[in-house]
Each structure stands twice: as structure tokens, then as C-alpha cells.
């Protein structure tokens, strides 16, 4: 590759790069310059690759190897042939695709209007609505399932009410359509978060220019708002698709087994079954997820979403008329009510005595909170520590990787990105087994404790499995950020680090925040890897505490109380994060006016 290659348009940017004019071009002898990268960036990419090899690839291969092993121990693809010869699995495959695609559609119906209303109009308590919009992601294990059935189930609150008044029931929780309904309620925040971050990055002057040129209403939306917000929407929608495709909890909750994730899970976790099909399905799910992510990247290919504007402030806010306000409030309230009803259910469970075949609990009590009072402290502290660290690791790795992928041409960067994304499809149990297998015999210095059962391994497991969320969010944020902003700063003499800290990071705040919040919120209720890796009760996070209670009828109330605590902890952390972001945005806007 010769130096003039630098002048070729970089991916994602139709403009000729100014890189040749930047100070970097002066260091032409540096071999890294060929890749438009600095030594620090190369080292960072290598470090991320090492992290992924150590904590994702090696552990995973050690478990998934059986998928490629014939009964006599030799390498073979016969099990993959079996997969496609098995009609149940073929059916499961198409069901998973169908459910994932339909969920994206339904989740968009909730998330897109919500995000637009929040970004476009003056709305009191927008941070609160944003926070409540994240809460559906926090579905505590078991408790969430019970609450969901008590609200939407065949004999849940709503159906009992409908049946008593009108004499019919709606099968919210039955079959594939039930899965789509529940998944959409659960995962629409992915779209909401990423789309909101994108919308917040659109500059109102873009809109104003368009309006000056005569664009209004739908044209304005179609020509300006929609294209500029597309990276965020696609990022969110792709995550929803992949997450739903790989999601296990909801099909199990609804007892739908004709999908890939439950088929893999049932095979892998059934005691004494040596069948490799479970691992084969896992491999196929990973491939499909990667395919879906690639497809989403293709939809954005060849377009430029970056604006050279300051990138903050968001759409120009409008005041709604009285009717409009009422309509907007009604929509927001309805969407939140529907999506938060499981959480209302969890709350009722936690303060109810007995709730059985009834619209509401029989009586109310605080006894369950008293029961969990003593142990809740350490559980909360552990959850905050583990998930906070995991979220931080994710945004640091995610943003660095996204930046390297979009701004440099270092070899292997896309491979590293693909590997990181594949984590989204990996069942927690598989990663947990892999980590134990790889690191149990590695002893920590001083204490002699095994690295695999050391609490930090949980942080790593959470971080690895949630890295795709942060990576997707960061990628969307950088796609909106025009490279010329950085180049301008560099040509004015700013160092790389200065550019990062003064230009890139501040302009990405929204995306980073979305990444952190999704990683943190979903890690807070992770159970499968947790159950495998927690070695001592004092190290246990909230999800473990919930599991322990939910194994007995009497534990339902206390389990729900811990569930409420988990939701509140995540909500508070999210609210603080949004408040910080809002203030940042306010500062930016003021500086520029």
C-alpha cells in the first residue's frame, strides 16, 4: 500500500480525507501512518484483541469444540448436518428469525414515537421518562416472570378483568406472538436509548437551514431528521434483533420451546445428556447474530451521517399546543404503563401477602422487606460494584474499538469488532463454563484463590457479554461525528489526546451514556453466569439473592422485594447518568449561543 492511498475516501465518509494535510502526514515514514493510525491506537487494538482472546475466544472454544467433534473424537461437521436435517430445529430457526424481526417492528412502534416526542418537544421530566424507558430492560430473574404472568398471563390481572367484564381473554402470553409481545416490551429501550442519543446529536441549525429552504413536516423528517438519526435507530434495531434472536428468558417464561435459544439451553443444561447439538445450536446462533450485525452495517454503508456541526443540542424544541401536549402525554403514559406493568407487578408482589388467581394481592405487608433488610446491603453493594465496573470496561473498550474501526485502517480491526459482537449470542452458561475451565487452576498471588472464582471474574463475564451493547452505541455516536472536526483541531495544533478529550469524548457523551446504561442495567439482573461463578455468599450480587429466594413458595415475597431493590438501584444510577448528560448538553448549548 502506498502513501497516496491515504487520499482515498475512508469508509463511511464520501469526502476526501484531510488526513494528508494533517500533521500525521509529516510522519510518513511511520509504518502505522499507512493505516492512518497512531502507535497508541495500534497498542489499544492489540490490547482489546488480547482481552477478547483471553476472556472470550479461548474459553468459548474450549466449550464449543464438542460441536465439531465426531462421536469417535475426530474433527467433523456431521452435527451441523444433523442440525439442518432435524425438522424441529429448522422450525426453531425460522421461528427465531420471525420473532426477532417482528419484535423489531413492534419495539419500533413504541420506541420511535417516544424518542421523537422526547427529543422534539419541551417535555417536563424528560430525564425521568428516559429513566423509566430504561427500566423495562431490568427484568429480575424469576420474579419478573412471575409478575409478568400475574399481570398479562392467562389468569393475570388484565385477563381476569377482561373476562369478568366482557367475557373474553387476550392471549398476550401464548405462543410466538406472546414472545413477540413480551420481548418488545422488554427490549424497546435499546432502540429508545440509541435513537435518543442520535437525535440529541443532530444540530438544530441543520433543521433550520432546511426550514429556510422550505422543508416542513414530513419532508423535514424524511430529508433531515430521519437520515441523520439513522445510525442510532439501526444500532438499536440491530441490537433488538440479535438480542431477541438469542434471548432465552422470554421463550422459557412463555414455555415456547420451538425456538433456537431454548433448544440450545435445554440441551446444554439437561443433566446427563451428552448430545453436542446444544453447542451446535450455540455456534449457529453466533453466526446468525454476526450476520444480522453485518447486514445492519450494510444498510448504513456508503452513506455519511456525520455533520460538521457542533453535534450537540439536539432538534430544535417546540412547544406543543394543548391538544398536542395531551396527546403526547397520553402516548408516553400509555407506553410506560404497558411496558412497566411487570415492574408494578413485582412491586405488588413485594408488598403483597398472597397473590393467587386474583387481580391484586389479598393483603399488603412490609414483612418481605424486613426479611431481606439484613442481607440486601452487601447484595446491592456487590451489584453496584460489579455492574458499574463492567459498564465502565464496556464503554472504554467499546468506544476505543469503535473509534479505531471507523477512524483507522489498522488490519484486523473489523475482525476484532466481529468477535466482540459475537458475545451477544453466547449463552451465559457456556461462557461461565469456559471461564471456569480456563481459569480455575490459575491462582491469584497472595491469597492463592482461584482466578475463576475471584469476584472480578464476574465483572469480566458481565463486561464480555455486554460489550456489544456499548460497542454498538459508541459506533453509532462516532458515525455522527465528522472527522473534519478532529482534523480541524489537529491542524490547530491539538495533540491526539487533546482531540480525544476535548472533541471526541464530549461529542460522544450521549452514545457512551447509552452504552453504559444498557450494559449496567442488563448486567444487574444477569443470572446464568452468576450462578456458575459465584463461589461465596458474601461475593454474591442481587440476582443470586433473588434466585435463592425464588426456589420456594415462601420466598416469592422476599425475592420480589430484592427484585424491586434491583430495579430501583438501576433506575437511580440511570437517572443520575441522564441528569449529568442533560447538564452537559445544556452547557454545550449555552456556550454556542
Amino acid at each position: 500500500m502506498s502513501a497516496h492511498n491515504l487520499e482515498a475516501p475512508s469508509p463511511g465518509s464520501p469526502l476526501p480525507r484531510l488526513a494528508t494535510l494533517s500533521p500525521q502526514a509529516g510522519r510518513g515514514k511511520n509504518w502505522l501512518a499507512r493505516y492512518n493510525a497512531s502507535p497508541a491506537q495500534a497498542i489499544a487494538l492489540a490490547a482489546i484483541a488480547l482481552f477478547l482472546i483471553a476472556f472470550l475466544i479461548v474459553p468459548l472454544l474450549r466449550v464449543l469444540i464438542v460441536a465439531f467433534t465426531a462421536p469417535d473424537g475426530s474433527f467433523s461437521l456431521v452435527h451441523f448436518g444433523d442440525f439442518f436435517r432435524t425438522s424441529l430445529l429448522r422450525e426453531a430457526f425460522w421461528n427465531s428469525i420471525y420473532v426477532a424481526a417482528m419484535t423489531v417492528a413492534l419495539a419500533s412502534l413504541i420506541a420511535v414515537p417516544l424518542a421523537t416526542i422526547l427529543a422534539r418537544f419541551h417535555f417536563r421530566g424528560a430525564a425521568l421518562v428516559h429513566t423509566l424507558g430504561v427500566v423495562p430492560l431490568v427484568m429480575p430473574p424469576f420474579v419478573g416472570a412471575v409478575a409478568m404472568q400475574l399481570i398479562y398471563g392467562r389468569n393475570g390481572t388484565i385477563n381476569l378483568l377482561l373476562n369478568d367484564t366482557f367475557g373474553f381473554r387476550i392471549p398476550f402470553m401464548e405462543g410466538l406472538n406472546g414472545v413477540i409481545f413480551v420481548e418488545a416490551l422488554h427490549y424497546f429501550p435499546f432502540i429508545l436509548l440509541n435513537l435518543s442519543a442520535s437525535l440529541a446529536n443532530i444540530d438544530s441549525s441543520m433543521e433550520e437551514s432546511a426550514q429556510n429552504l422550505g422543508a416542513h413536516g414530513f419532508t423535514l423528517f424524511r430529508r433531515i431528521v430521519f437520515p441523520l438519526a439513522l445510525p442510532g435507530y439501526v444500532a438499536g434495531a440491530a441490537l433488538v434483533f440479535v438480542k431477541v434472536f438469542d434471548d432465552l428468558a422470554t421463550p422459557l417464561l412463555l414455555n415456547v420451546t420451538s425456538m433456537l435459544a431454548p433448544q440450545a439451553y435445554l440441551k446444554i443444561t439437561s443433566v446427563g445428556i451428552a448430545d453436542p447439538q446444544g453447542y451446535v445450536i450455540s455456534v449457529i446462533m453466533i453466526c446468525c447474530s454476526l450476520g444480522a450485525m453485518l447486514l445492519s452495517a450494510l444498510t448504513l454503508r456508503g452513506r455519511d451521517f456525520a455533520t460538521t456541526q457542533r453535534g450537540g443540542g439536539g432538534l430544535s424544541r417546540r412547544h406543543l399546543g394543548r391538544g398536542g401536549t395531551a396527546l403526547a402525554i397520553a402516548f408516553v403514559a400509555l407506553a410506560l404503563l404497558i411496558s412497566l406493568s411487570p415492574h408494578i407487578g413485582i412491586f405488588l408482589l413485594s408488598i403483597g401477602t398472597v397473590w393467587s388467581f386474583a387481580m391484586l394481592p389479598d393483603a399488603y405487608t412490609l414483612a418481605h422487606y424486613v426479611t431481606v433488610y439484613r442481607e440486601a446491603g452487601p447484595l446491592i453493594a456487590n451489584t453496584m460494584l460489579y455492574c458499574g465496573l463492567a459498564g465502565l470496561i464496556d464503554i472504554v473498550l467499546g468506544a476505543t474499538l469503535a473509534y479505531i474501526v471507523l477512524r483507522t485502517r489498522l488490519p484486523g480491526r473489523q475482525l476484532v469488532q466481529q468477535v466482540a459482537m459475537s458475545a451477544v449470542a453466547i449463552p451465559g452458561l457456556v461462557l461461565g463454563i469456559g471461564l471456569l475451565r480456563t481459569y480455575f487452576d490459575v491462582k491469584l498471588p497472595f491469597s492463592g484463590e482461584s482466578l475463576a472464582t475471584f469476584w472480578f471474574m464476574l465483572v469480566i463475564a458481565y463486561a464480555v457479554r455486554r460489550l456489544p451493547y456499548a460497542l454498538t452505541a459508541a459506533t453509532a455516536a462516532i458515525q455522527q461525528l465528522h472527522v473534519s472536526l478532529e482534523e480541524a483541531a489537529e491542524s490547530l495544533g491539538a495533540r491526539k489526546l487533546g482531540v480525544l478529550s476535548r472533541i471526541v469524548v464530549p461529542l460522544m457523551t450521549g452514545g457512551l451514556l447509552a452504552g453504559f446504561v444498557t450494559s449496567f442495567a442488563t448486567a444487574a439482573v444477569e443470572l446464568s453466569a452468576t450462578l456458575l461463578l459465584v463461589a461465596r455468599a458474601p461475593d454474591a450480587p442481587l440476582s443470586y439473592g433473588i434466585y435463592v429466594y425464588m426456589q420456594a413458595a415462601a420466598g416469592r415475597g422476599p425475592g420480589a422485594a430484592l427484585g424491586v431493590i434491583a430495579v430501583v438501584v438501576v433506575a437511580i444510577a440511570t437517572y443520575i447518568a441522564f441528569k449529568i448528560a442533560e447538564r452537559e448538553r445544556g452547557l454545550k448549548t449555552r456556550e454556542l449561543f
Binding site: L150, T269, V271, L429, G432, L436, S450, Q551, A553, G555
Partner: protein
Amino acid sequence: MKLSRTLLLAAICALSAPAAVAQELENKLVIVTSFSKDLTTPFAQAFQKKYPGVQVEIQNRNTAAAIAFIRETKSSPPDIFWASSPDAFEVLKKNSMLTKYQAKAQGIASKVGSYPVHDPAGYYTGFAASGYGIMFNTRYMRANNLPAPKEWDDLKKPVYFGHVGISAPSRSGTTHLTVETILQGEGWDKGWATLLEMGGNFTQVSDRSFGVPDAVNSGQYGLGIVIDFFGLSAKASGFPVEFVYPSVTTIVPANVGIIANASHPKAAEAFVEFLLSDEGQQILLDPKIQRLPVRATTYAKAPAGYPNPFTDKSLGAKVNFNADLSEGRYELLNSLFDRLITFRLKELNAAWKAIQDAEKTLGANANAAAKKLLADARKLASSAPITEKEASNPTISGAFHEMKKGEKPVGRQAEFEERWDSYAVKSYAEAKALAEKALTAK
């Protein structure tokens, strides 16, 4: 200073006899368990009280995670595995992850009903038993005008269509034993006919044992086939549920085993002995635990009406349980049940619904042609694709085992599964068609 410390130690030893025993034990005991807190906490506390020198650490994991954890931590594993499902212990035993231990405690029955309490090879020990039965939500039953069931056969009645739940035998070792008992008690063909006809009424086959009581407690569905303490403890916690033992029920043991290369073997042995001691057995009577002691004399302290398999012969005594037969087809049976019922529940429901509706409409007036069609439909919807002999034939059941060294593979699980799955889909569809045809048969 040194002297006084020695004196103090001597004084402590002299003061408490158990402490003297505890001195010989290690200072720690790590237990991996799938039991709920309600069961583990009282035992751990009582044990700790008896042996204050031993610090008990409980790791709660579901069965799959527990087995994986023990397998992956071979170099320094936990000490005790403590759980219900016998299959989990069998897996550990087959992989040499358990230590043989012959309990010293006297007065422990070797059989409860006709079920062996302990592993004959001595790798794990039964410390409690439980019976299987039917739990139902009384509010749900009233609202849907359902009669209370008494026997297993009641669950075949059309009135219970869509109201019954069970956990899959592949997911619950105790349900597996119940299914196996039905097959052994009634014979393979008749047993499958019972299971499939009952299966026609299932609304759910849960992937975890506790999923069934959970759903019945909430009133999601009305009746569940569960182990007794799920029903009894839910009732004790105030849920509007009842539990009945059918006149022929199965007894399933709950076990404890010492893990191979345990770091604290003496403490582990002391724990096993403690579970079997009169003191430990009495803890089982706790209303939140409600399991059946394996020490006959403990029942003297039980409250009135507590089920006692040693005096009540209907509890698990009728079937002469053949453990070898069960072991030979263990994995195969799990897979077969999943193919025929769990994964094709919708199709099975549809077939039986059609049969039930046709029988109801035609009643006693059915003509010969209709009767013939209905009989054929019933046969299709209630037969297994393989015979009992085939199920025990190693060339078939071998495909479901983990290969040992030197063993020859006989076929792949996936191949058999595909065959059974298409059999199920086809038979159920045909059964449905025949039943519908019977309505218009002349």
C-alpha cells in the same frame, strides 16, 4: 501468657464434648446445593451449632450449574453435593466425581416403599424421601368448576383439558422417576398410553421443577403434578392450594454425596452423619421443609397426619421398582418424552381435543364406523414409536449415553430424535383427522 492460652483451650475443650469432636474436623465445609434456603439454612445452622469449629459455606446453584461447577473445579472441588435429582448424582458418579462413603448411622431404612434409599454402590446417600402427587389451586378450581382429582387417571378426563402442568423428566430428576414408575407399573405400552392421554390435557411442560408449583400458586393453571413438599409448603405459606397423594404414588429420594478429592473430607462425613442422625432427620419435619425422614423412628415426633411411608403402604409400595431397567434407558426416556410431549405439546393437545370433542358429541350413539375411527385415533395419539425392548437395546439407547473409552458409537442422538419427532407430528395430525372424520362417519 502462653500458659494461660493453653489452659483456656483446655478449658474450652473440657467444657463442650462436641467441640472435642470438632477438633478433629477441618475448620470449613463447602456445600453445593440446589435446595432452597428454607431447607439449607436450618440444617446448616444446626450443624454449625453442633460443630462450632466448622464454618459452613453454602453455594446455591441450580443442578446444571452445580454439576458444571464440580466438573470444572476438579483440582480443588467443594466438599458436598446436596440435591434431589438422582440423575445428577449418577452423572457425577459416572465421571468419578464422588467418593464412596458408607454411613455409620444406624436405624436408616434401606428402602422406602419399594425404592432403594441409597446408591447401591455407595457413592451417595439418601437422607429424605418425597412422594409425588397432584397439587391444585382451589380458587382456580372453583372459578372453572373443576372437581378435585384423586387419582392419576382422573387427569386424563376431558374436564381437565388445558388445566394441567408438569415439569419435563429431562429437566427434573424427580419427574423422571415418576414417569419411569408409571412405565414400570403399567407396562411400557399402557404406560405410554396413560402418559400421552394425560399429556393431551397438559397446558405446559415446564423446564424446571419449581416452575410447576410457581404456576399453580399464581393460578396460571389449575393443577400440577408435583413432589409433595412443593404442594405442602406452598399451602403452609398461605397459598390457596391443596395437595393429594393418588392411591398409587411414587417415592423419590433426596440425596447427599461427598465429592471426590474434597478438601474437608472429615467435616463432609460429619455432615452426612448429621443429616441421618435423629437430630437431623427431625429438621425434615419443619413445615417449611416437609420431607419424609428415612429413619422410621423419627415419625414418632411428626405431627398428626404426616405421611408415613413406613406404615402407609400406598406410598410407593405397589410398584416393584427396577433400578437397572431405569438406568439402562434413562437418557433415552428423557429424550423420548420431550419429542412426544414437551416439544409437540400443541399438536398433542389438538389431537386429544379432537378426540374428546368427537366422543362427547357422538356419546353412546356412535355407530360402528365412528367407533372404529375413534379407536384408531386414540391408538395413534397414545402409542410410542419404539417398543420396550428397543428402548433397552444398547444399540439404540447407547446413542444417548456419553461415550466411554473403547465404546463404539451406534448412531447419533439427533438421528433418533428426528425420527421420533416426525413420528409424533404425523401420528397426532392423523389422529386429529380421524377423530374429525368420526363425527360424519356413517
